[in-house]
């Protein structure tokens, strides 16, 4: 417990230091840089033309589709991680069995990938 705590103290500290670095840089800029209240400077860059509408609109489904496929495979990767480290000397089970079980698992996902491929979900449109 002590080791774990000691290790992740550094992680916490790293995030704090990172935050402070960014903040100090922004603060330094706030102090040193000029600041104007001219309204024209607040317009967004639209190649020199005035923007017509707000930019944030509803965008196509395809991003959502990729996100779903991503989550499936990422979760799968998370499942594979513990297996990958322990299947060789699996306590209480023959390692070959652990391996072939994972082959089946990956195979099912492979079928899923093939299906998505076939359906054209992987084709960016």
């Amino acid at each position: 417990m002590d080791t774990l705590f000691g290790n992740y103290v550094a992680v916490l500290l790293a995030s704090v230091v990172g935050f402070m670095m960014v903040m100090s840089a922004l603060l330094g800029s706030r102090l040193l840089a000029p600041f104007s209240k001219e309204r024209q400077k607040g317009t967004t860059y639209e190649c020199g033309m005035l923007p017509i509408r707000r930019a944030s609109t509803n965008v196509g489904m395809r991003f959502y589709l990729y996100a779903i496929i991503f989550i499936i495979f990422d979760v799968e990767a998370v499942f594979i991680f513990p297996w990958a480290l322990s299947f060789v000397d699996m306590p209480g089970a023959p390692s070959a069995m652990a391996y072939w079980e994972m082959v089946i698992f990956v195979g099912i996902l492979g079928v899923g990938l093939a299906y998505a491929w076939k359906k054209g979900a992987l084709q960016w449109r």
Binding site: V11, A14, F19, M21, G28, S29, T44, P51, A77, L85
Partner: protein
């Protein structure tokens, strides 16, 4: 557990703080150096001189840039979402910084030995994409939005091959602890057993960093800067710093995981100086190769980029994992790993070559194209 710094037993908080301080200093210097070196190297590739005016051989260029950027007016578009816009900078920069905790620079020279180091690195590295998406969304700019969405799509697509490539290596190494992985490569670096994993990792690494040929998010000729188009001054430079820090980090990880970090070929016997030098040389070579790719490669298009990840890299990395498992379970000779990995690399290049030569059908005429009248 080594909470002794320079041989003194100290409080873990103080120890961590001291190490982080050291890392902060090192990182700042290295990143500034990298910016200078990249400019010099790219200039040489392009038959230019690069920075020459600031200090001897232009060495002070990065410092001058930093000073200029701090003194530059910091604009925020009136239509931007203030909180998301401001916070995006932190989300981009802090995760990169956090990754340094697990990197082994030399024997017993790291901030902390994390038992799940590789896993931690992978997990934290994907956070900064959130920052890019936030930046793109909050800027109230169409280019930024397209850039942000591109960044997200690209990052999630290459995340999986990256993770699986590292996983394949972890299987062979038998650990997720970065220090153990490095120490285990005293005789033979893992790139020998896992060339395909290295190839996949290298490509996915370029994509994760958003460097050429995968720089479609920034894509200067299309989206004119992508997610950080509306950022200026020091806030923009934070994106820039994060990019270079990520370059440094991912090359460090690649050199540790695949090239044997400080261990290969001299082992643990030699002094720390040599180990640091080895790490630096390997990382430097990788960084140089990234620069080299940057000056010679055109940019991919988004559909090519996505299909390459999902249709080529992902299946290949799965096959690699299954093959690794087979060899390890039945205790076949390691040479088989080399053979299959090598065959995989050849296959990868063949697939790329075939894909390039294959003609792409003209996109089907759309409804808008058929009508003659101009809007």
């Amino acid at each position: 557990m080594n909470n002794d710094l320079f041989g003194f037993e100290i409080n873990i908080w103080l120890d961590a703080a001291a190490r982080m301080g050291l890392i902060t200093g090192v990182m700042t210097v290295v990143v500034m150096g990298l910016i200078y070196i990249e400019r010099k190297i790219i200039a040489r590739f392009q038959m230019r001189l690069g920075p020459t005016r600031t200090g001897p051989m232009g060495l002070m260029q990065s410092l001058a840039d930093a000073l200029k950027l701090v003194g530059k007016e910091d604009l925020r578009p009136a239509g931007a979402d203030p909180w998301v816009f401001e916070l995006a900078v932190y989300f981009v920069f802090v995760p990169v910084f956090m990754m340094f905790v697990a990197i082994p620079f030399a024997l017993n020279w790291e901030v902390r030995v994390l038992e799940l180091g590789l896993f931690y690195v992978v997990a934290v590295s994907s956070i900064n994409i959130v920052g890019l998406v936030m930046a793109g969304w909050a800027s109230d700019n169409r280019y930024a939005m397209i850039g942000g969405l591109r960044a997200a799509a690209q990052a999630i697509s290459y995340e999986i091959p990256l993770v699986l490539a590292l996983l394949a290596v972890a299987m062979v190494a038998g650990s997720l602890n970065l220090t153990e992985i490095v120490a285990g490569q005293g005789r033979v670096p893992l790139i020998v057993w896992q060339p395909l994993a290295f190839a996949i990792f290298y490509i996915a690494m370029l994509a994760e960093m958003g460097r050429t040929p995968f720089d479609i998010a920034v894509g200067e000729s299309e989206t004119a800067g992508g997610p950080h188009i509306e950022y200026s001054g020091i806030r923009w430079s934070m994106f820039f710093l994060a990019e270079y820090a990520a370059l440094f980090l991912l090359c460090l990880i690649a050199s540790a995981v695949f090239l044997g970090g400080w261990a290969w070929p001299l082992g643990e016997d030699l002094g720390r100086g040599w180990q640091f030098a080895l790490t630096a040389i390997k990382t430097g070579l990788l960084i140089f190769s990234v620069f080299w790719v940057r000056v010679t490669m055109p940019r991919l298009r988004i559909d090519q980029l996505m299909s390459f990840s999902w249709k080529v890299l992902l299946p290949l990395s799965f096959v690699q994992i299954l093959v690794n498992g087979l060899v390890l379970v039945y205790d076949w000779p390691d040479l088989l790993l080399l053979a299959t990995g090598g065959a995989g690399v050849v296959l990868l290049f063949v697939v790329i070559d075939r894909g390039v030569r294959r003609p792409r059908p003209r996109p089907a005429p759309l409804a808008a194209a058929e009508s003659e009248a101009v809007a």
